[in-house]
Symmetry: C2
Subunit: 320 residues, 2 copies
Amino acid sequence: MSGADEFAVIARHFAPLAASAGARCLADDAALLDAGPWVVTTDVVVEGVHFLPDDPIGRIAQKALRVNLSDLAAKGAAPAHYLLALQWPAGRDAGEIAAFAAGLAHDQGVFNVTLLGGDTTATPGPLAVTITAFGRPHGARTPARSDATPGDDVWVTGTIGDGVLGLAVRQGAYAEPPAARDYLVDRYQIPGARVAFAAAISRYAHAAMDVSDGLLGDAARLAAASAARLVIDPAAIPLSSAARGWLDGQPDRYAGLGRLACGGDDYEILFTAAPGVRAALAAAADDLGLPLARIGRVEAGAGVEAGGLPVGAHRHRLGK
Amino acid sequence: MSGADEFAVIARHFAPLAASAGARCLADDAALLDAGPWVVTTDVVVEGVHFLPDDPIGRIAQKALRVNLSDLAAKGAAPAHYLLALQWPAGRDAGEIAAFAAGLAHDQGVFNVTLLGGDTTATPGPLAVTITAFGRPHGARTPARSDATPGDDVWVTGTIGDGVLGLAVRQGAYAEPPAARDYLVDRYQIPGARVAFAAAISRYAHAAMDVSDGLLGDAARLAAASAARLVIDPAAIPLSSAARGWLDGQPDRYAGLGRLACGGDDYEILFTAAPGVRAALAAAADDLGLPLARIGRVEAGAGVEAGGLPVGAHRHRLGK
């Protein structure tokens, strides 16, 4: 889009999303952020890497926002504001920007977050969305990856492996039963972002992190940061009924489980906590209707042991 | 780069830039930002749009950072931290990342700013660098674009038009005298970012904004935001000796001045202030060795009147 179009797009589609006074109606060079402290994170999603070119544009916007809100939740913070830096392909219909903004507007309501500012530019390359999200810590602690202690339990929210299966469905690599299709594609295109569980993370978690690059690879990073060993029970890794259905059809069930446990795009929270808070955690998750699984324990040592499953360290991403 | 490479790159090249405790050595999902208030801004620079593919990679990093610091300066804020979201082309030598990081390291020293966090991803598209910068306001006010008052003087820092000429030099469109070449190319590739003048902006400016899309187009945006009229004296627009040399060689001097006044990539500060602070502003600029020009006045009304020069509203950018 040209310079004049850029200003029109901002005024028409994005300014209505900028409700806070600090955003200055997106008509200034910069925005004002209230007194903190703040938890801040930034993540880029790129067409052909993190989403498919023909994913619905409103869902691309939601995914770009939610991958950041997921990081905030893993640090025990409630989302408040975000900045949007949008690279819009020169050849892509600018008419789609309305649906892109509508996706953001929807999620602003879901997560109680407002647009604070941003930048919009044309690009000769793929669509790319960089979001920087600001969260307010629920408590005094923002759990780090490095806070795991031997003796801790290891927990994960939700279910694992739906994202990588949703991508497989979209790529035609999995002839899924019709009932599972929408569920898996939704999980790939619109991550859950466990924002509602952030208060419990703040209160009970020792170490915590967002699971975005595969459960076992991310567990290895948490173990390394904490200079500890994570022992994970493969049978305890939580699977949706759709993922269990896929797994039941695999000739090598063990390799299939490895694929789910090393695939990316889960956007769940992996955390450790003292055994004494098991009941409190279960109650907090139950109140939210959120599945929560105790999948292992922290020991002295290094690395991840998961019943012999390969501990993948790479993202299973498009184009990689 | 693959996932494993990404972590190695962050640990080797970027973690040394992350000096503050809140950055958590870039080994966490998110960073912590001290109590504010903060001025925050985000800008993307894209290969083929905001810089040339063969611009030196360290200078690309510097430009990405400085265009953001320029926004902070225009709001009267001192830079403190930044987030880096890097889209690195799959086909570009990852060995260049060391020089990219060295460009950032250099400017961290110049501007007293540290890396707080970020994201690195491979892209099938062009190199793109999104930086989000955090500044601490020098004073109670962060001047908006909308704060101009009839009776104000209009001022601009530095010189205008060097950036667009530097781009012309790089594109072979201007057979400049050798003495001017490096100066103009430097001005295009490494914007000044008037960080040192931010305290004076905070103290004396009414309206203020970063000049990045052309002086007259940006003046029109300031006028619109302030619901006022800016009358600018074309003869008062400050030009470097290199730009004057170019202008002297133009068959149509008036059209040439219009091109300089509507070209982009100046990264100067346009601001308005009461006539009573003229001496104080001149002294503040003089102390810094910074050229400062009084180029007009604010009146009741609307729009920009600049002796009949066309008031461009479009960026003169690559690929547009």
